[in-house]
Subunit: 361 residues, 2 copies
């Protein structure tokens, strides 16, 4: 299975794998796909620099990419302490009350860390500056097109720029801004996502733009890759599936939650970041639908509000409360396997499917 997209990127199979884990990213690139590192977790850009230095070697010279989050509507900027002061105390009370009710113990003070700041433009720009000093092949942006000067800088260094889109009109405006690749992210996807399902969205985006389109959302098997190619995509963008691989550093509680979840066990909610994102549905997400739950805060305040809670929920060891962005494909994640094995199965099932379809002609 090869498309023009493979030649454009210098990869063997049209599979782009997004992960916050550099170990997953390296394994995807080594297996012939394009690993893309999620940078949003690096509040300190120098940590990203160290990780990319590691990746430069660990990918064995194969292409890889970096994903940043620059929302097209610029959220509130500021220093962590100033931003934290903007979180209403009633919201903090609700979070504290909920953790108590869910039986989630407090952390030792030493484990405390600030929330995700990577979706501030100031931090995302620092990520991009770091990335431009590494042999990165692709910069992707999750919430709209990167600003024009970022696209110019990337192009000047020979990088490709990708942007996620949940509607055809967004895809069109991305391409007008200079984006080279559109990731059409369907409703079924994990993390930040829109309302249009991939079956409808992908051909709409393909027809709306003249650049390569990757299908994202709901892809976890070779049949789904073949379906994405049938819809006109040049390849696929996969995120959730890697959470279930051996290379992903996971707590036992998270692993159990992911293996146990069916495709019905996700919910699209603003509670993680302030923008709609698909998450594992559990006692924590359900608590935010209760009568006493407050309205969510705008990005980045919502994550500042819940980041301490996220750490406590993760550390609790309770699989029924882990806070985790994941797509509906979580229902197919039923065994922990190495990335290379997942990649090889994806490719052989996709090839089998293309062969089977040809017989229907």
């Amino acid at each position: 299975m090869r498309t023009d997209f493979c030649d454009l990127l210098g990869i063997d199979v049209p599979i782009v794998g997004f992960s916050p884990s550099e170990h997953v990213v390296a394994a995807i690139s080594r297996a012939g796909g394009l690993g893309v590192l999620g940078a949003v977790r690096f509040n300190d850009a120098s940590e990203l620099d160290d990780v990319l230095t590691w990746l430069d070697t660990a990918t064995g010279g194969r292409p890889y990419g970096v994903d940043v989050v620059m929302p097209s509507r610029v959220p509130t900027e500021g220093l962590p302490d100033d931003l934290s002061a903007m979180v209403p105390s009633g919201h903090r009370d609700f979070v504290e009350r909920t953790l108590l009710r869910l039986g989630v113990p407090p952390l030792l003070a030493a484990q405390d860390r600030p929330g995700v700041l990577g979706w501030l433009h100031s931090v995302a720009r620092a990520h991009i500056e770091v990335a431009l000093n590494h042999p990165v092949r692709l910069i992707a942006n999750a919430l709209g097109p990167p600003p024009p000067d970022v696209i110019e800088q990337a192009h000047a260094r020979g990088l490709l720029v990708a942007a996620l889109a949940g509607r055809a009109e967004h895809a069109r405006s991305h391409v007008t801004s200079g984006v080279d690749i559109v990731v059409a992210q369907g409703y079924e996807a994990g993390g930040h996502t829109g309302e249009i399902a991939g079956m409808v969205l992908v051909p709409e985006v393909v027809d709306a733009v003249s650049v390569p389109v990757l299908a994202a959302g709901g892809i976890g098997s070779g049949r789904q890759i073949a379906a994405a190619l049938a819809l006109g995509a040049s390849g696929v963008w996969m995120g959730s599936v890697w959470l279930g691989t051996a290379e992903y550093e996971s707590s036992p509680a998270l692993r159990e939650a992911l293996l146990r979840a069916t495709s019905s066990d996700t919910v699209r909610s603003r509670i993680y970041s302030g923008k709609p994102a698909r998450l594992l549905r559990n006692r924590w997400t359900e608590a935010w639908s209760a009568q006493d739950a407050p309205a969510t805060l705008p990005m980045p305040l919502q994550n500042l509000l819940v980041s301490g809670a996220h750490d406590r929920l993760m550390a609790s060891g309770d699989p029924t409360v882990v806070p985790m962005p994941v797509g509906q494909i979580v229902g197919r994640m039923n065994a922990v396997r190495p990335v290379a094995e997942v990649m090889s199965d994806l490719v052989s099932e996709a090839d089998e499917t293309l062969g089977r379809l040809h017989k229907l002609l």
Copy 2:
């Protein structure tokens, strides 16, 4: 493009087309697909009998089917007047107030009709009795498997039984009940629908059951048919697309609303029937999200509450208020065309797609 499903049904292409319009149904069957008539609108079974008699001739002897609605959880039964008395007056006040606010004039008394009773078991059973006296090839049920005795009767007369499923576990239980064909209906579909998108749902259902699976939801082009076949479906079930055909008797307001709508202009809501169904999003559906809107009533009371309003909204001639179940594929419905032309385009684009995919191997 042929699958085993074509041989099973005695049709030329694996396209099942659902419509409440007998004219659309006849045209689909004549074009080599399987037209399936939605019976829920026939409060009086003898009217269905007349329409099927017409279809027996109009299909030119090609196979066709009938779709009934028997919810697996039996709703409140009763005579129209007794059921109407169960609708709270606060709800009636809200509907009346909303129509006034939307500028929707009252009807002449002569145009009044009762709500949809077809989703009562008593009425649906009358539909099936009528259908069994016609050369119907397939009985489909929209909200679960038909009762065992209905399946037995159908099988005794050589008919096939299909049932819609929005989750793999429902598909499994349908097949255990004796259902011959499962329609995996994704989140993106029009009318009653679940939360799992087709990209994820279809292969889950295919893997869960050993009977043929049709993909429903988001199918409106040959690429989408090819994608459904890639996912493992034996064919497709299409409903929304026929609303935009020349054979569908439509008001100018409805036609304008459908042509104008994008894939973002639908909403999944309980306001039509009491169960979640995807509808055209407009000023009427939005009114039900307002602060003063009451909670929806259970099936069949919700439709009894709104059926008079539906008639007024339709008769108003205002495209911004038409009450209409439709899927996200409405964004692709941009011209009124005869069914035969739509069918021919679907088949040629699907064949082209299968040919294109083969070249990627």
